[in-house]
């Protein structure tokens, strides 16, 4: 058993994404959906991307029997690979920015603006990914956010030392401008962010959970199985959601 903050750090060290050139290794989540749901799921993931609640626009759909990243997709299922927001931690860590992953939770959204976290599970307190399990608690309202601008989404928070603020700002801009628009909020130093307290001399960074589309699929009543933070993949081998 490994606590999730350690899992994140282990993965973060292996991320090699250069947001400027959009090359390198990123962290992925693997979900299985039923073959017959593929069209509905694709449309839903596209809508989720448009409404800005996915971490990244990179995806990969893999047919039954085919292999991707060493996973052979079982019969009757389609593999849906998406990018995990741990990738952001990786990019920051690899730039030498002091970072502590705090936790994952449910973020309330009003008129498309985040208002506050209403649930939080600290990474150092859990061995299972908070966003993976919160998907099943009936506390998300992803579809409401997508179609009415008010609801709850999954999001996570980390804190970085304020000394690195210029580098953090620059990195977040680079990420947002490339295929990773899911950064939600950058807090001021020494200030709680969206209801979560931050250590002295640190500032908070909130990103949309990579599992928001999965939670939306669940809310629609479709079957889905997800394993978050599954491993690393070259971003060049993924497809762009808007091309479907």
């Amino acid at each position: 058993m490994k606590f999730v903050n350690n899992v994140i750090e282990d993965l973060a060290m292996q991320v090699s994404l250069n947001p400027d050139t959009e090359e390198g290794l990123v962290v992925y989540n693997l979900s299985l959906i039923r073959n017959e749901d593929l069209d509905t799921v694709t449309a839903l993931v596209k809508d989720a991307f448009k409404s800005g609640i996915t971490f990244s626009g990179y995806v990969k759909f893999v047919e039954s029997g085919e292999q991707f990243c060493g996973h052979k997709i079982r019969q009757g299922c389609t593999g849906y690979f998406s990018i995990c927001s741990t990738t952001l931690d990786g990019v920051l860590v690899r730039k030498g920015i002091p970072l502590t992953p705090i936790g994952g939770g449910v973020l309330e959204v009003e008129k498309r603006k985040p208002t506050r976290f209403i649930h939080m599970i600290l990474y150092k307190a859990t061995t299972i990914d908070p966003l993976q399990v919160l998907t099943a608690q009936g506390v998300t309202r992803i579809l409401d956010v997508m179609y009415t601008s008010n609801g709850n989404i999954l999001a996570n928070i980390r804190e970085c030392h304020m000394e690195a603020e210029p580098q953090i700002t620059q990195t977040l801009e680079e990420m947002s401008d490339s295929g990773f628009p899911g950064i939600i909020e950058l807090g001021a130093p020494n200030t709680p962010l969206l209801g979560v307290s931050i250590s002295t001399d640190f500032l908070g960074v909130v990103a949309a959970g990579g599992t928001n589309p999965m939670a939306a699929i669940k809310e629609k009543g479709m079957w889905l199985e997800t394993q978050a933070m599954k491993g690393l993949v070259d971003v060049k081998s993924m497809d762009w959601i808007e091309d479907f």
């Binding site: 209403i118 649930h119 599970i121 600290l122 859990t126 009936g138």
Partner: protein, 316 residues
């Protein structure tokens, strides 16, 4: 501003604990007990703000009650303060548990499950399976139907909350810390290893309810084959309490409780804490987990109150 929010949430929390309307004067007394000293006038000011927000509602001249929105606000606001709150809430029940395992008397803490009448029979057979397999915290439960908290067409099932054990230790002068809720792999009816744990101190959602809702238990498999995944709690007590644990466990077993799954400095795959002993025990939530695995959707309030132990032991 943050300070203000803390105060208005405390008012909502107080109202939530009362089933009857509470007046402004009484509220200002209760606030003071909790460390928020405010004049009646200030309380009035907050209350009119809360009325305006639709969180509270005036009931004639009796005082205020919480609206549905108000209840939901207490479950959403101040996320930072709510991390670990599940346990702070249960600590109160532990403190009020007067259960004495030597005499089998006193009060225990309980969980309350609401069961719609049409599925009652199915749910009870699931509870019976868990009882027979000894996978609960206490080997028994009590069915109630006359309680204002049970909506029409529903029946309540009371199961003993394992926080009762914390109460027993506290009364014996042993500091006890509820560390984790976890899912425990069982092989051939013996504990094998924890598959996942969540620390109570780091979450706003109950760990065991998380595992149940995410479909990560297989209590039914244990019942049928002796292999599966059950819910368990991990408590930590000072190492010098080793002798007391044995005595307490023995007398609790005599009262109908299941013995701890394991006790020790290094148990299963848990990271040992220096000079602390871990007590792993099955959770009463295995009753509910088994029913949920069978497709029964149940609502359970963990730590719903205290009740005399003798009432739980009466025949259903």
């Amino acid at each position: 501003m943050i300070h203000t929010e803390r105060k208005y949430i405390e008012i909502l929390r107080i109202l939530k604990e009362h089933q009857e309307p509470v007046g402004a004067k009484r509220l200002s007394e209760l606030m003071a007990e909790r460390g928020f000293v405010m004049s009646d006038r200030a309380v009035q000011y907050y209350l009119s703000y809360l009325d305006e927000m639709g969180f509270t509602q005036k009931v004639g001249n009796y005082g205020r009650i919480l609206t549905e929105n108000g209840t939901s606000e207490t479950e959403r606001a101040l996320v930072g303060g709510r991390i670990g709150f599940i346990i702070s809430k249960l600590e109160r029940l532990a403190f009020r548990s007067t259960f004495n395992p030597d005499t089998g008397t006193g009060e225990v803490g309980y969980n309350l499950t609401r069961v719609p009448e049409p599925i009652l029979e199915g749910v009870i057979s699931c509870f019976e399976q868990v009882k027979r397999s000894g996978l609960g915290f206490f080997n028994g439960y009590r069915i109630i139907d006359k309680d204002p908290r049970i909506p029409k067409g529903n029946v309540g099932i009371i199961s003993v909350c394992s926080i009762t054990m914390d109460g027993v230790y506290q009364r014996l002068g042993v500091p006890v810390r509820m560390a984790f809720g976890g899912r425990l792999s069982i092989k051939k009816n013996s504990p094998d290893c924890f598959l996942d744990v969540i620390a109570y101190s780091g979450t706003t959602v109950d760990p065991l309810q998380i595992f149940i809702a995410a479909g990560l238990t297989s209590v039914q498999n244990i019942v049928r084959t002796g292999n599966g995944v059950a819910l368990a709690n991990v408590r930590e007590v000072p190492a010098m309490a080793e002798g007391i644990i044995k005595d307490v466990s023995e007398s609790m077993v005599k009262c109908g409780f299941n013995p701890p799954v394991c006790v020790g400095r290094e148990v299963l795959n848990l990271q040992p804490e220096p000079s602390r002993i871990s007590i792993v025990s099955f959770s009463g939530m295995n009753y509910i987990g088994n029913a949920c695995e069978q497709g029964y959707k149940l609502e359970t309030e963990i730590g719903a109150g205290n009740i005399p132990f003798s009432k739980i032991c009466e025949d259903n």
